[in-house]
């Protein structure tokens, strides 16, 4: 039986300050994150490899060098269990570990609210006429791309080569419903007026460790953030930042389901592509969704046909397996979107970013004769991703009833402040809420407390599904201070 698919996303947001001639993105990102007034703890982020039970001194916080602690850049952990920090020259939000794709979609959306509020707060520090702008996008249109990564918990037993063989074609073909749309092409790809994905032009390899250049379809980074003997964390770097909740749910839900099927041996064929890299931008550049891709076996299939095949296998797999009911919803949304894209792509404008954006641009062409190479077309496509709810065009389309939502504002608000109940993120988020003063360092699989003793106390969290509400809420309620908590946990063996 496949491992439960604990999952989450990481998003590097675009940042600029309008009318600031000497804008520095690193300083701007730090300003945004330091300005966030929501529940948070400003702490060190440790990159030390995990060794459960290791003495807190040995963990090396005191007197530790920069190799072990990322003290140079701003880092906060939020009460919802997420991480908000400066990565390269971007503000980045990593969702907490989520129990299912719907919850991960909710926490991904909560990240936009966090960034919007942080940007609004940072605005107070800017000069007259300057304006902080944050975009949840992946490209500046000039050949620079920044990432949106998905993470899925996999069994260490699944050979990595199987992921390469069986998952590549899924990732290439899913762009028909995962792209957030882009005007033009970059990185030396053939020019187009509009394409499905922001990221496709930047993928140059089939498999590899890189994320910043020569980007691969399958990324081999192996940081399980958990028990390395049992787990892998598949780091998917090929997706777009998505605004539409339905689209994020589809992106995460279909991948989680296909990976579960792969773990359980329920994908009968690899469906290998003759030219995977060329097919990435080939699919993205094909607005008709009808262009056939060459498969390695000499057959051809369109991206939609390939997705129908994965859907069929996933459906069959789900019928014979005791999966979480959320995957029934995944299958239904998946079928719905493939049907819509097949009959009339524009009919998916209520749930897919690329279609909503494309339709908006068509409306402008219709009314004003707006040309594809008009700077206004690029501006519209960019401002679609502005996280400011008053200026972002995604938000305008939602309010106009053109894009449907999965969540209420209240649900998102709860996710901004509160952690998921069913993963270790619950423990992390609650510790930030309750013991922020004594929390000195964290990473995904441990927390370090200073409880006033000589040694710092480290609490390892090597199991993504432990530290959940059911297991630890009572313990937390009984622990008034971090010292009480550490004592109750029995020292640093958590």
């Amino acid at each position: 039986m496949a491992l439960h698919k604990v999952l989450g996303t990481e998003t590097e947001y675009g940042i600029t300050i309008r009318n600031q001639a000497d804008f520095n993105p690193v300083l701007g990102s730090s300003m945004v994150i330091n300005s966030y007034a929501g529940g948070r703890a400003r702490i060190q982020w440790s990159f030390e490899e995990e060794t459960p039970g290791r003495d807190a001194r040995g963990f090396g916080f005191e007197g530790a060098g920069p190799a072990e602690l990322d003290s140079g850049l701003v880092n906060v952990v939020l009460t919802n269990g997420a991480r908000l920090y400066v990565d390269h020259a971007h503000p980045e939000y990593s969702t907490p570990e989520c129990y299912d794709p719907l919850e991960a979609t909710l926490y991904d959306k909560a990240g936009e609210v966090v960034l919007a509020r942080a940007a609004a707060a940072a605005q107070a520090l800017l000069g007259d006429g300057e304006r902080m702008l944050i975009h949840k996008n992946n490209s500046d249109g000039k050949g620079n791309s920044y990432g949106t990564h998905e993470n899925y918990l996999l069994s260490r037993e699944l050979p990595f080569n199987d992921i390469v063989r069986y998952f590549t074609t899924f990732l290439v073909s899913r762009q028909v419903f995962t792209g957030s749309g882009k005007v033009g092409a970059e990185n030396g790809r053939p020019q187009v007026e509009f394409q499905l994905s922001q990221r496709a032009d930047f993928f140059e390899e089939e498999v590899g460790l890189e994320t910043t250049l020569k980007r691969p379809i399958i990324n081999t980074r192996d940081e399980p953030h958990g028990d390395a003997a049992k787990y892998r964390r598949l780091h998917v770097i090929i997706g777009d930042a998505t605004m539409s909740e339905t689209q994020t749910f589809l992106k995460l839900g279909t991948a989680a389901l296909v990976l579960a099927a792969l773990e359980d041996g329920a994908l009968p064929e690899t469906l290998s592509l003759a030219d995977p890299v060329g097919s990435v931008w080939g699919v993205s550049h094909d607005l008709t969704l009808r262009r056939p891709l060459e498969l390695a076996e000499g057959r051809t299939a369109t991206a939609l046909e390939l997705q129908w095949q994965y859907h069929e296998w996933a459906q069959k797999y789900a019928q014979g397996t005791d999966l979480d009911p959320v995957f029934e919803r995944v299958l239904a949304e998946w079928e719905g979107v493939l049907t819509a894209l097949e009959s009339d792509p524009l009919s998916a404008a209520d749930r897919l970013d690329w279609v909503a954006k494309y339709r908006l641009l068509l409306d402008y062409r219709e009314r004003d004769g707006l040309a594809w190479d008009d700077p206004k077309a690029k501006l519209l496509a960019l401002q679609y991703h502005d996280v400011d709810p008053d200026r972002g065009l995604y938000h305008k389309l939602v309010r106009a009833g053109r894009i449907t939502r999965l969540f209420t504002d209240d649900e998102v608000e709860t996710a901004v402040n509160r952690p998921p109940d069913r993963t270790r993120a619950y423990f992390r988020g609650e510790c930030v809420s309750r013991y922020a003063q004594d929390l000195v360092a964290a990473n995904w699989d441990s927390l370090v407390f200073d409880v006033g003793e000589e040694a710092l106390k480290r609490v390892p969290m090597m199991e993504p599904l432990r530290g959940d509400r059911e297991r630890v809420a009572g313990l937390l309620d009984q622990s008034e201070t971090a010292a009480d908590l550490v004592r109750a946990l029995g020292g640093d063996d958590g």
Binding site: D87, D140, T212, I237, D374, P375, L379, L382, K396, A400
Partner: protein, 66 residues
């Protein structure tokens, strides 16, 4: 696709009909309303769109990441 419908009627071209006429001219009215709604939306978007698109788009440069 629905674009053809939008071409036929622009905002303000058709005046409000009496109730009796509405029954016979449902399609036109729907087309009018759709065009009007789209016009309103685009007007609203124009009101929040960053000024000076050319300069803004030109200056929007990000560092690579990941």
């Amino acid at each position: 696709m629905a674009d053809q419908d939008r071409k036929q009627t622009r905002r303000g071209e058709a005046e409000a009909s009496t109730e009796a006429e509405v029954v016979e001219e449902v399609d036109t009215t729907v087309g009018d309303e759709l065009t009007e709604r789209i016009d309103d939306l685009l007007d609203e978007i124009d009101s929040v769109l960053e000024e000076n698109a050319e300069e803004f788009v030109k200056n929007y440069v990000q560092k690579g990441g990941e």
